[in-house]
Symmetry: C6
Subunit: 90 residues, 6 copies
């Protein structure tokens, strides 16, 4: 496994992902939240593109609420961006 944020071969990885994000616009606050989850997940996938490693990691932290809380935090940060992009659905 590559170590997170170290020595990514970004050009290859990026071309591997295809087009997955064309707009930050979301119809509703909830759809915006779900987009924030997608961004959080893609941050992981770009960092560790080896799907086999990702599969192997699944059972880990099964008993670790800290990991779930950390995931929720990444989502919260992305949600700030998306809410701003949608003018907070005002």
């Amino acid at each position: 496994m590559r170590c997170p944020l170290i020595h990514l071969n970004l050009h290859i990885i990026m071309s591997d992902q295809g087009i997955w994000l064309t707009t930050l616009k979301a119809e509703t606050p909830q759809k915006g939240f779900e987009l924030a989850i997608k961004l959080s997940r893609m941050g992981v996938k770009y960092t560790q593109p080896d799907m086999e490693v990702l599969h192997r990691l699944r059972p880990k932290y099964a008993e670790d609420p800290m990991a779930l809380t950390a995931a929720s935090q990444v989502i919260a940060i992305h949600y700030q961006t998306i809410a701003a992009a949608n003018n907070y659905w005002k």
Copy 2:
């Protein structure tokens, strides 16, 4: 358990949640705070939708103030978003 942020089957999970967020508007700063808690919690629930796992995790960290502090931090981040959405209730 799925590992946080790894390999979510987002389409299925998202359709499972129903409609739970239609607006970021909140009548008062306190109701906005409570909405921030809801968003924080939903970040966990989308990440780990298996309720049985969530139940099993409950007793964990019973002695861990760090986990409570981390939870309070996620709430604080979402509260920034909600406060902005409500023009800080000015």
Copy 3:
């Protein structure tokens, strides 16, 4: 103890807290800072409303500056919100 951010019975907990936040306005930057501390603390209290558990947790981390630093960080995040709400007391 309930695990942070997992499975809160929000409706009951929220009605238990009474009215504790009616405005983000603070007379001075210092009073705003103290309000940020209050918000940080309430994030913990909503997450773990069982006062007996909270009491039991007190002696923990007595030797842990990391926990104090983490608490200071939550306060800093809320202070951003409150400072914005008060137009930075300009």
Copy 4:
């Protein structure tokens, strides 16, 4: 020691601190940075006002760059607030 963010007797603690913050204005970006450090430190002091405990904690983490990095992070968050309050010294 009280656990961070749990069960602070805020009224007593706050009156104990005296007046320490009257403005977020700083003459220069550097003085603003130093004010951010002060805010970070006060977040700790409000959370753990027992000076004897704080003294006892000093030698800890002597070998822990993570703690220093975490401290630097709290400062960075407060610096965002102070820089905004000073219109980024533009």
Copy 5:
């Protein structure tokens, strides 16, 4: 290895990196996301410019979703900056 954020010989390191960032503009939200990844990675590279050390670190945390989540968080913070720089691609 130098300890993160401690005692960087910044002048030498910075001149070593060449020109790698001339604009925060990105054509699409996805390209902006990929720029955020680049910034996250450069934050590591400036902090630890010894490529041999970076190579040695790779196999570590192979089983650590927390590290992947932390990486995703850094990306999320940089993405806020880049999205703002691009007016959220509105």
Copy 6:
């Protein structure tokens, strides 16, 4: 060693640092990034001004990508401030 954020003798430390920051303006996005690194590093240096301790800490975390990721995160937070100060180099 003093514990991070605890009991800094700020007046002495601050006068020890000399003038190191006179503006948040940076000519290019890259120079702004390098300024963010400097701010991150100064946050550590103010917190632990004892250079001998800092030297002793260097070899630590040699195998710890988490520490590098955490450093990258502090840089990201400061970069938000600096980018805003430079109107995102628009």
